[in-house]
Amino acid sequence: MKFGCSLEMVNMLTSGPNFIYKQSKGFWVEFFKYVSAVGFKGIELPFNPYNSDPMAFETGRCGIPCNAVAVRSKYGSPEEFLAMLKEFGIEEVTSVHVNANDAMLEVVAAARAAEDYYELFRDMCLQAIDHLISLQGKGLVISPTPEIGWLEAMFKGDLDQKFTDKTVEILSEVVEEAEKKGIQVALKTEYWSLFRGNKMAKLLERVRGSYLCPDLAHMQIAGDPTTVVVNAHKHQVAYMRLSDTAFQDSFNNWKKINAEIPVEGPQKVFCDLGEGTVDLLSAVQVLKDNNYDGWVICEQKKTLDVYRGLLKLGWFVQHKIVEKLR
């Protein structure tokens, strides 16, 4: 079992001093060195190919390596990007993460028909496979639906029928395409997903060949017993996301647009690893007991200081996970 670092811990969609520096190649080049310095040899990258959504337009044309264009225009080529990572001590791009919510934001931003979402999502996943191959990665992590809030606003129909069937169809095609190219597709849990709770198990059954990416913080917020679920799916877990939270969704944010930015009640949804209430060690122990030999991806989601957050992450993983495993 190996521990990688999700670079989505650098939250670009927030306010704070020096946020623009994080859009420069210079920031990322330095940050990759720090990721290596705290002991991570693998990284997971976000993937977003869009530019109608204004946020994606802003983040997609700078030094954030979040799509093929950014890698080519700012780092020369995928090969040069990988060579740079290797020089810094990062051996592998383990995976890239595709979030279906980004496809929905593109639909909204471009004032397209809701039905266009399906094709955009499908195309985004297929593009991500090519991007992943160019970076020699093996894992495509997919957040399988937009936020329920967006689905309710845009589709207004029976989400459990047509939308679900169509999603299964797209994901099945993506898995088939990925398998041909030696890529594992892992479906990630989110508390705001249509497939929250036990619906994810049904989705996994329907999308043959897919794996489960349990995002532990999301699962806990949704009310799922994390260790029990990981144990139940231990043979199909891939790229498990170590994330932490102490958040209780008492205002039903899971139903709302921007579910991760609550307006009422408690607002801090995620916290640094070890500062929440998720039983992270037990979930990892389940994988170890099952001789899992893949990557576990660690994320300080929305940490307020990415440098300190990274140091804390490195310490936590080594001292509170790796050294405590039986």
């Binding site: 920031f27 930015i261 307006v263 801090k268």
Partner: protein
């Protein structure tokens, strides 16, 4: 009362200000004990503007969906900021993508009409607008494309006039209306419906003398983005490459007033000469510390520029 009132573009705080208002400061501060909590919500950010003496604000086009999602309607955002002392949301910023392509005229207008509606709902009267897409991948534009882009802006200006809004052309050093295109573009602009937002740093980076530029175009200039730069007359290879706005080494293009090469004193003498009155905007995107930059800029205005004209 002076002749000048000051507004500030809010893009220096973040791509998105996540929260309208924090419900429990300690949720973020306790245990963290850093200054991060000071930057997370509109409630506090607006108060910084007022505290520093900036009674207007501007919004970026990419903030629109979030304003609508979190405040319900744009006018509720305006009510929110007015309650905290803002006099006016002076305007927004947009980009006229595809304006050079006649065949995409209607398609290109659609998002801008939406921004115009948004601006009107906010109570704003100007849209600072990049006249075409970025240079990389699009430029150099030919004569016809420049004419098309100007024609597009004129038509958009007419539509805006119905909403009591004026689009103010805002050139970017990385835009396809660049150093060699700008004056030819202006020749085709109908100044009855379209104005110019003189971004002092952008124009300086392009290679123009800001003071001479204003002297020439003072009737056309309806608004300003004051900011300084240490890269005046920047070479093509820096301005026209992919993602030029984000320098690979992390260096910043824009600085607080008085920290770079822009001759603000010369500009202020002309503001006095031409009796400019009304809102003046500042925009200092790229600063590592928006609060410090805002205060330093206001200090410069109060102590260096106001003795000339206020």
């Amino acid at each position: 009362m002076g002749n000048l009132k000051y507004s500030y573009q809010t893009n220096m705080w973040g791509l998105k200000v996540q929260y309208p208002q924090l419900t429990n400061w300690d949720e973020w501060y306790k245990g963290d004990f850093s200054n991060a909590v000071y930057y997370l919500d509109w409630d506090q950010i607006i108060k910084y503007h007022i505290g520093a003496g900036f009674t207007g604000i501007e919004l970026m086009f990419h903030m629109e969906p979030y304003i609508r999602q979190f405040f319900g309607e744009a006018k509720k955002f305006t009510e929110f900021v007015k309650k905290r002392g803002i006099e006016e949301v002076t305007g927004t910023f947009a980009i006229a993508f595809n304006s050079q392509d006649k065949s995409k005229f209607n398609e290109a207008l659609q998002p801008l009409d939406a921004i115009a509606d948004f601006t009107k709902e906010l109570g704003g009267h100007r849209i600072n607008i990049m006249p075409c897409g970025g240079y990389y991948g699009l430029g150099p534009l030919d004569k016809e494309q420049i004419q098309n882009a100007a024609h597009f802006m004129n038509e958009f200006g007419k539509r805006c006039a119905e909403k009591d809004i004026i689009p103010c052309v805002h050139t970017e050093f990385w835009g396809s209306i660049n150093k060699d295109e700008l004056e030819r573009y202006i020749e085709h602009i109908d100044q009855k419906y379209v104005g110019f937002c003189l971004d002092t740093a952008q124009v300086s980076i392009l290679g123009f003398d800001v003071v001479k530029f204003y002297d020439t175009y003072h009737d056309f200039v309806k608004y300003f983005h004051l900011k300084d730069t240490t890269f005046p007359n920047s070479p093509d290879e820096l301005r026209l490459c992919a993602g030029a706005e984000f320098q690979d080494n992390g260096d910043r293009w824009f600085w607080e007033l008085g920290s770079g090469a822009v001759d603000f004193v010369g500009l202020w003498k002309l503001l006095k000469k031409y009796e400019y009155k009304g809102w003046i905007g500042l925009e200092t995107d790229g600063t590592p510390d928006p609060m410090a930059t805002m205060l330093l800029s206001k200090y410069y205005i109060n102590h260096v520029l106001h003795p000339i004209y206020e």
